[in-house]
Symmetry: C2
Subunit: 435 residues, 2 copies
């Protein structure tokens, strides 16, 4: 687990003035991504305020030494998989050096300035090539809420409190924030119909998740022990696991969700490092009385102590009506990553417990992170109780599910007394009509 050090000092300010104050990207964050400046090719960069530090340029300018060189060299290309493969050492060295270079008073300010681009002029990409994408189901409030709708008698199945439930998702259709998402078509069968029919999804939903970028990975056949699992985390992002609820209800048995999910998933483009999140670590929330303890292979003292995450998670909805009237996006939900029943280390260890190999740049989704009440639901299925209680917007529009032209925006923020708040950047996409 990352130690707190001078890079977390809340008094640290950057000479990039936009980084000080309310930016998602203060000097205590320093997330990595892949960007191209106007007309340039995709390359690794670091977000600082409203600027992006060009890593190849900074490397060429001789601003790095030692392990930080290794990290920067692994971030020259159009994907950060080589960087993720390096693991914690080079990543932490790069962070320490970036913190120096970008701090108020840095003697290198002049040379660093030549390596900055206005983020507004840059294009952002998926930060890594996703080899495999796995989605988990660690939001126990979500599992209970949704379980009630799909299986009223049986919301939480007997395995839930023993098995960090997960399934494989589609890697090819993961898209970076900002790319539109097309409404899928598919087979659905309303309960009163005698036969299914094929057409545009009528119950389109988002899912509020954290994504975990895998670092070094493991060899096939060699499980990652729980005490080593944190070292497999290369960073975090926001993940919107778009879901077609009507397609899902008809297709999901017995092999799980498929076309209801694989038409697309949206991620935020910045990899927020474990080091940046160190101040927001909390103990794994205590299980309710009567819940079984995790099996021994999922138990680790350090993970119990600091495997939880205190991150505010927010879902905003911007509709054509709100846009037209100049009204702000509507907050659909405010949740927190502390509502995860399993830690990130536990899902990694479980995933590899059978020998399954993770690779650098693999993406794990936590599953929808809902809180305990109606204002903290991570999907509209939960918020509207399956479409029964529509959301009413300031534009007088109503939403039971998502409509064409709707834009869903996910945000995350770490906030803690005595530390600089950090953000994830946005994970947003607009629904296009079915083709």
């Amino acid at each position: 687990m990352a130690q707190l050090d001078q890079t977390h000092d809340p008094k640290l300010e950057s000479w990039v003035l936009s980084a000080n104050g309310h930016s998602d990207f203060p000097i205590q964050n320093l997330p990595l991504g892949v960007f191209s400046p106007n007309g340039g090719s995709p390359r690794g960069g670091v977000a600082i305020g409203d600027q992006i530090l060009d890593l190849p340029a900074a490397l060429a300018a001789g601003l790095f030494a030692g392990e930080a060189v290794k990290a920067a060299e692994a971030a020259l290309g159009p994907v950060l998989n080589p960087f993720l493969a390096l693991g914690a050492g080079p990543r932490q060295a790069l962070r320490a050096r970036l913190s120096e270079l970008l701090s108020q008073g840095s003697p290198e300010k002049g040379r660093v300035e030549t390596c900055l681009h206005d983020a507004a002029d840059c294009t952002l990409y998926l930060p890594a090539h996703v080899g495999d994408y796995t989605d988990f189901y660690v939001g126990i409030h979500h599992a209970t809420n949704v379980g009630k709708q799909f299986r009223p008698d049986n919301p939480l199945l007997p395995n839930y409190k023993y098995v960090p439930i997960g399934y494989h998702g589609r890697a090819s259709s993961i898209r970076p924030s900002g790319e539109p998402m097309r409404r899928p078509r598919g087979q659905t069968k309303p309960p009163d119909a005698t036969e299914p029919s094929f057409g545009p999804c009528q119950r389109l939903d988002y899912e509020l998740e954290l994504g975990v970028w895998i670092g070094p990975g493991n060899t096939l056949g060699e499980p990652v022990r729980i005490g080593e699992a944190a070292g497999q985390v290369g960073g975090f992002c926001l993940l919107n696991d778009w879901s077609a609820r009507d397609i899902q209800a008809w297709e999901y048995q017995p092999l799980g969700p498929f076309l209801s999910k694989n038409f697309g998933s949206t991620v935020s483009t910045w990899i927020v490092t474990p080091e940046a999140l160190a101040p927001f670590r909390i103990p794994q929330p205590k299980r309710p009385d009567g819940d079984p303890a995790p099996l021994p292979y999922l138990l680790d003292e350090a993970d119990q102590r600091e495997g939880g995450l205190n991150l505010e998670l927010e879902v905003l909805l911007l509709t054509p009506g709100l846009r037209e009237k100049g009204l702000p996006a509507h907050r659909l939900s405010m949740s927190n990553a502390r509502h995860m029943y399993w830690t990130v280390a536990q899902i990694i260890t479980h995933h590899t417990s059978n020998g399954c190999n993770l690779q650098p740049g693999d993406l794990l989704g936590t599953g929808t992170i809902s809180g305990p009440d109606q204002s903290s639901c991570g999907s509209i299925l939960e918020t509207t109780l399956g479409g029964k209680n529509p959301v009413v917007l300031a534009s007088s529009e109503q939403r039971r599910f998502l409509e064409d032209g709707d834009e869903v925006i996910l945000r995350a923020r770490g906030r803690r007394e005595g530390f600089a708040p950090i953000g994830f950047g946005e994970c947003r996409a607009t629904i296009q009509p079915a083709r």
Copy 2:
């Protein structure tokens, strides 16, 4: 759909004499793979009898012209994804030219001979990098047999005859024939236990499947219509979807199989082309009376006429006891690809019907292809009725499930009056003890 032409002429013989007679790889087959000759680097090759034609060497020797050059150039590297991306035109041109070059009486025999390697001296690899792997469930006898064991009251769910059921599998753990497979560990909970426990799988199984290598692929948001789906097939292989039945029973609800499958899958190393399989096309088997017709998006006249495959499928088991006594492998099952409820075109069209994008080198599994009786089961779970009726071997060993040291061998063969039989090569792997 591929036309029959002179490359299918059963009278055609090769001057590579081992290709004539009982080889899986007569001149009518010409499958592609990735191999390395002793000490060399991985590259594209074509199987002919007990030899492998070195495609880079043949290209360098100037043996190709026109579209065939394009195909060979796409097969120079360590993966055939670029070749698969080209689609049918270059692939067919390459086949036509290879058929000429390798035929009895070819004036190029001398130049071609210098491009051959003894297959026995070569290493074979996965023929492509698998971006995403999807497994279907088109074997209706398998679905019924297994459904009975997992859900006695409800073997075939109401969606089965409408939806080509599929789910995403693990790409990273797909391995070529010959690599051992380690027995997984995992959580299981026998029905009479009050709590699950963690340990080596006790009910390890194979699954007899065909694999489909995807060719050109489609753009996200743009479905592949059923009439165009055959053009997306780059070729076929055998696929053993190893399954840990005890882990599966405990973990699979509600999101489907996960750790029970993703510890490894084995594929045969040769890509058998649609052209090679053209003689073995049959009408899609007629659905039993009372079954619904496929929805219109899955219906195509040509696919109905020739979307089926008549391929014999075989499962052999070689145990330590059989090996020790010098006894041959035991045939566990003889099935046929005609027992698929959905065609390959239907699963491709269904997969992309929501806009999901397939990419060159993606792998689709058909799901276990069992026949209608006990001698044609595609998994040992079915053959032994869930372990109740053990298989007795000539070595006096018994098998309820697979044991350490057991080797499972899958084979496929196209056989038709008036045509040369062709094979797939083997898909084999030996079980290693749990770590």
